[in-house]
């Protein structure tokens, strides 16, 4: 089972809605596979505090708050490589 398949995302939609908050359990590093419910539109990812495990994703008119230290670390590593 892929890393992403084990994750459950909770989205709160609509204007003015409180952002959804999700705690994710990081799995072992492996090639990610897109699942059927994955986003089909542009996504903006925002890490405000590099010391936290929080990642904000803007997709459509939704904002998802994801807590995943592993994912945040991989983004930080990617961002720091340039």
């Amino acid at each position: 089972m892929s890393d992403l398949n084990r994750r459950k995302l909770l989205a709160v939609t609509g204007m003015g809605a409180v952002a959804g908050s999700v705690a994710l359990v990081a799995g072992p590093a492996s090639a990610a596979v897109r699942r059927s419910g994955s986003a089909q539109e542009p996504v903006v990812a925002f890490v405000e505090d590099h010391d936290s495990d929080e990642l904000r994703l803007m997709v459509g008119e939704r904002e998802l708050v994801v807590h995943d230290r592993d994912l945040v670390t991989r983004l930080l590593n990617a961002a720091g490589g340039f």
Binding site: G16, V59, E63
Partner: protein
């Protein structure tokens, strides 16, 4: 100004800048409430080739609270869409625009209006057409006709969205030059010769969203109240504008693309609250907050900076009583943040409960005045500001006099206002051309061709 360019960040984003809100019951249709929300301040009528328009990337809301929660119980939301009919030309119009559906208007704008109540959204209109701006004598020769074509009625509700004349008036040049009021120039700490006020908004246009809806559309019991003293006769009104939380510049399209939810960037209830009472460092945060969170700003209403400045700017005995008054300004707190409870003004109240929140409060059971007093409630006319706000209400004078102490006796019978408190004004008045007696109540916007540039002197 009322709220034109009132906050540092918002001053950079005029398309989302709420400038004025009006809410009133008028004699021509006394069973309806009219709410006008203005945006995009200080439009020069000759501001082509890219004239002013609503933002396609902005959500514009008119909010109504009819409970004591200071929350939006009802929202009218407006989303705009702009089209380019002929991408090969630089022209806003390729010939005279004689009808709002004319193909000669190259950049028409349309909107969708949605009504939201109790979480249920109902789209009331799609593809409603705005009028073009008033380009000039050749391009928009019968502008009043174009504006009438852009008045859309859906059931018992009527909508308009487009350019109008700005009916607000204020002497910005003097007021923001160390609190100067030209008619009182000689009494200022830096005296100058006495002058008439100069209306800094004269001849500028705004973009208005106007609704005319049955009173029963907005009230708590969805009826038309007749008891002025009943809580359910009062509604709270404010407007806001929201942008997408994230914006990325798309170099291929040459414009920003939004992602994520809409978040509030501008709001407005009572005129001049953010402009004059909220400190500069907090103005943009205030714009992003909801009215129900205004308790954190109440200290600036209870002890307004301007009330402390007036005795300094106009020294001597001009504001001696105001200078000596040290109590929190319960009068201003009631007028601006809770509404005036019963027992303060005979036969009147517009109290919305104890939650301090900047809303324009309208008691819809107060009959409209056939002979308006521009000073509203302090002029013994309970149909005017701060009971809602009519287009002709002189809110600058009303609020100046209130801050100067004229309303303190409403809550503190021992206080005697200074003589200057009931005389102070900026010396400007409503330009009659900016007002109409029927929907949408703001006058025909100034035309580009017809505009003559003003004068300035840096000496």
């Amino acid at each position: 100004m009322s709220s034109h360019r009132e906050a540092p960040e918002m001053a950079k984003d005029p398309v989302a800048d709420s400038t004025d809100v009006y809410a009133f019951v008028s004699p021509d249709k006394p069973d309806t409430v009219k709410i006008i929300a203005n945006y995009i301040p200080l439009q020069q009528p000759d501001g082509g080739p890219n004239f002013y328009e609503f933002g396609d990337d902005v959500a514009y809301d008119i909010n109504i609270s009819h409970t004591t929660r200071a929350r939006a119980d009802i929202t009218y939301r407006f989303h705009f869409t702009t089209k380019i009919r002929n991408p090969k030309t630089f022209l806003y119009n390729t010939g005279p625009i004689e009808n709002i559906r004319d193909e000669t208007w190259n950049r028409p704008q349309f909107y969708k209006v949605t009504r939201i109540e109790n979480g249920r959204s109902v789209v009331l209109g799609r593809g409603l057409t705005c009028p073009p701006v008033n380009v000039g004598t050749r391009s928009t020769p019968e502008y009043a006709k174009l504006a009438r074509q852009a008045v859309h009625t859906r059931g018992k509700r009527t909508f308009f969205a487009g350019q109008r004349a700005d009916a607000f008036h204020v002497d910005l040049g003097s007021i923001f030059d160390l609190g100067g009021l030209r008619p009182f120039n000689k009494a200022h700490a830096i005296p100058l010769e006495k002058m008439d006020g100069i209306n800094s908004v004269q001849a500028y246009n705004v973009h208005s969203i106007a609704i005319q809806v049955p009173i029963s559309d907005l009230t708590r019991k969805h009826n038309r109240p007749t008891d002025v003293m009943s809580r359910s006769s009062v509604i709270g009104v404010w407007t806001d504008a929201s942008r997408r939380k994230s914006r990325m510049f798309d170099s291929r399209k040459g414009k920003y693309v939004g992602h994520g939810p809409y978040v509030q960037v501008s709001r407005l209830g009572n005129p001049l609250v953010n402009e004059v009472l909220i400190p500069m460092a907090e103005k943009d945060a205030w714009n992003a907050d909801a009215p129900r969170e205004d308790k954190r700003y109440a200290k600036y209403v209870d002890k307004p900076e301007l009330a402390g400045l007036l005795p300094v700017l106009y020294p001597g005995d001009t504001f001696a009583n105001l200078r000596a008054y040290k109590k929190p300004r319960a009068d201003l707190n009631a007028i601006l943040l809770t509404g005036i409870p019963s027992g303060v003004v005979d036969g009147f109240q517009n109290y919305t409960g104890p939650i301090e929140s900047d809303m324009l409060r309208l008691n819809v059971a107060v009959p409209p005045s056939k002979d308006e007093n521009k000073l509203g409630l302090i002029g013994k006319d309970a149909a005017g500001f701060p009971n809602g706000r009519r287009v002709g209400d002189d809110v600058v004078t009303i609020e100046l006099r209130a801050i100067a102490g004229v309303t303190i006796p409403l809550v503190d019978k021992d206080y005697k206002p200074d003589g200057a408190a009931s005389a102070v004004e900026d010396g400007t008045s409503t330009d009659p051309k900016t007002v109409m007696g029927s929907f949408p109540y703001l006058g025909t916007p100034g035309g580009g061709y017809q505009t003559k540039p003003g004068t300035t002197d840096s000496k």
